[in-house]
Amino acid sequence: MLNKVKCEEVDALTTRAISGNATAQDEESLREHLSLCTACAQRDARIRKLWNLMGELPPVTLSLEKARTTLSRVSPQALPRRRGLWAVGAAAAAMLVVTSVILLTLPSSQNPAPPTGAVTPAPAGEPQKAEVVQIDETEKTRVDQILTDATPEPQPVQVAPERREPAPDVVKPAPEPKPEPVPAVAQKPPAPADKTAPLASETKPEPAKAPDAAPEPARPTLPTVAVLDRVEGAVLLVASDARVAAKSGQEIAWEQGVEVVGLGSQAVVEYVDGTRLALGADTQVLQLTERKAGTGKRVHMSRGVLAAQVAKQPATETMVFTTPHAEARIMGTRFTLSVTGTTTRIDVKEGRVRFVRKDDGAAVEVGPNQYAVSGKGIALAPKTVAGPRVALKEQFERPNLKWGPGWVQGTDAGSGLRFANENGALSLRVPQKPASQPAPAEARSKGLVDVSRKLVSKGDWVRSIWIETKQTFALSNEAPLRIRARLWQSHSDDKRISWVALNRTVAGQSLLLERRGSLLQLWAEGNNAPLWQKEVPATQEWETLELWVTKDQLAVRRNDLTLHVGAFPFGGKSKAVQISLGGSANLELPQEEEARFDDVEAAWLSRADFEDVIK
């Protein structure tokens, strides 16, 4: 008999529950009270919401310099070099001692080596590609796609053959021999509505089946938990004593598992409440739920890739996913779990998940667009999924030349050059002659040094106009800075240049990407000739120019093609850059001319993006 819980005690019980301090008795008492008392149920939900909300904190970590000094005081060699340490860690897999580990019995013979010494780099939120997780990114995307392709409104599950047909984007690699009792799967083209076809040749011990009937491998008395859907390739229902081929529409009972075999196979499991799990290649999910009703669904996943869309669960019935390395507690979210022999990675799309490492019970909350990895020797911390961090985006849509407080505008007095804000772009008008004859000395504004002047020995560029960011953008090797702008020219004229520049007003550090007539050139201060140039005519057409910069490298791209890769000449000096764009012209031009700029953007991308670009 449960103790009757009074309303005053509910707060304490809820607090225990959410902080992981509740006993089974506590949980039961709480659940019972909440099912009877609406006011308390609301209060409980509110507290839980608050608890989750408190996870919205920016994580804070030691600055790289501090980390370096700390480590170097212990060992001069133990520096937080990122890539280097990854390599060391993986190689050192066999050498480490550790805490208890749940070992897998996997066909993919993982020797039960103790944890690797893999380490994570310092800055929080930095995107790290899956160096440790061997699961293909494409597989994850495919499985998530299976979920998105046909996400119906949550409705009571029917064993109905006429489901919406998938448009699977399944990859078709060659079939692979599997070291398992199930024979190799021949790849099939995307299966149409006919459910028997994919299975006919795939599994062995198969009695002939009627198209829609569910075969019963010894479970007639257990209630149905979920239904299979969108089955393709070889999918098995696994019970304690048998593995049987399964197909769409088949019901899954308590304590049955699902196994997806072979590349290109898939299955979707749909629960009564609309929760859906998409299982990808070589994925095994056992124990789809727990024995007792009312305690939340439990799914144990031993390997593979799974994408889930979890319907809102009752507050006391958190859905729990377990893998050999981790446990994830879900309350209505969308996420993907990838399990290898040694690690489990969770990528959360929507909602929040409490992700617990089995080894030591360490837990983190993983929020939208974040991921975390549980594995030996890997720091358990949510990281933001890589995507460009856009720091500057200017589309020149504000009227009357108001660029906002972030920009500084300047021009040489009497140059006659002017900006106009037309048709959503920055238009640079260059009249044939300057308004007055500017004397080179006074043409310089207020102590700012115009490098473009210095670069060309003739000193013809007496007329310039520009806008420059006040903000500086940091350079780093791990997060390359990509500066992008679209450019348009009315005429091809080598007496005029349009440019995108870095640190134009910082002595000794300017870099300019210029279009001069039909030439694109890269100039760096202190050089009498361009670092690089290429003949690329572009008159009366928009071109997209990109300058990618890290601490020691740079790349120039045009219309999504890399044209030049080289060393960033100011690697040692420049820690951050200001961005400017503008134009310069000779004293006289043959005609009135115009240049336009639009869609100026500065963003930090990932190292992997940069490496793709410089290949």
Binding site: D11, A12, T15, R16, S19, G20, N21, R46, I47, K49, L50, W51, L53, M54, E56, L57, P58, P59, V60, T61, L62, S63, L64, K66, T69, T70, L71, R73, V74, S75, Q77, A78, P80, L85, A92, L96, V97, G117, V119, T120, A122, P123, A124, G125, G361, A362, G377, A379, L380, A381, R389, A391, T472, F473, A474, S476, E478, A479, K575, W604
Partner: protein, 171 residues
């Protein structure tokens, strides 16, 4: 752990990387947002841990140990500088790369949450932080802080109440 005892620097590196965020976050929250202090203390804690590693029972979980060390360091530092009276203005530590985009990535909710947390009374905040962000059980917290489990529970409840007041607009 054997390697730690043996003085293997590689082991230190691993421990450092794994626990450093936790310690940093803890001191940062404890101090109500003092980034510079958090960095100094974190550095101190790891070096001390390393120097005295043979004196600790390394079979027990490291988190409460490191956090206790951090807490003691914080208490000492705060005493010296009378920092405990009023929490310093919130700063945010990021790696150098991210500092520049602070103004652009302003998130109303994050700030509100940070402020709400910093506004808690110190004893309450401490307990909340240990439970919410480090996943410590009541018994572990009680042992760390030298208080009873009942007190831990009471403070946590009180923390939630105070936070609820502060963040009611978001609930």
């Amino acid at each position: 752990m054997l390697r730690v005892k043996a003085g293997d620097p590689q082991a230190f590196t691993e421990i450092f990387h794994e626990f450093q965020p936790g310690v940093m976050n803890y001191v940062y929250r404890l101090s109500g947002g003092n980034g510079a202090l958090a960095e100094d203390i974190a550095q101190q804690v790891f070096l001390n841990f390393w120097l005295h590693r043979n004196e600790y029972d390394l079979e027990k979980p490291l988190t409460p140990l490191l956090l206790t060390m951090a807490r003691n360091a914080w208490v000492n530092a705060a005493k010296r500088e009378s920092l405990r009276k009023s929490p310093p203005p919130l700063e945010s530590i990021r790696a150098a790369e991210q500092q520049v985009d602070r103004q652009l990535e302003h998130r109303e909710l994050e700030t509100a949450v940070e402020k709400a947390l910093a506004s808690l009374d110190e004893p309450v905040r401490e307990v909340f932080v240990l439970s919410r962000y480090h996943g410590l059980k009541y018994s572990q917290i009680a042992e760390m802080l030298g208080i009873s489990i009942k007190t831990v529970e009471a403070r946590l409840s009180r923390g939630l109440q105070d936070l609820e007041r502060h963040l009611k607009d978001f609930l």
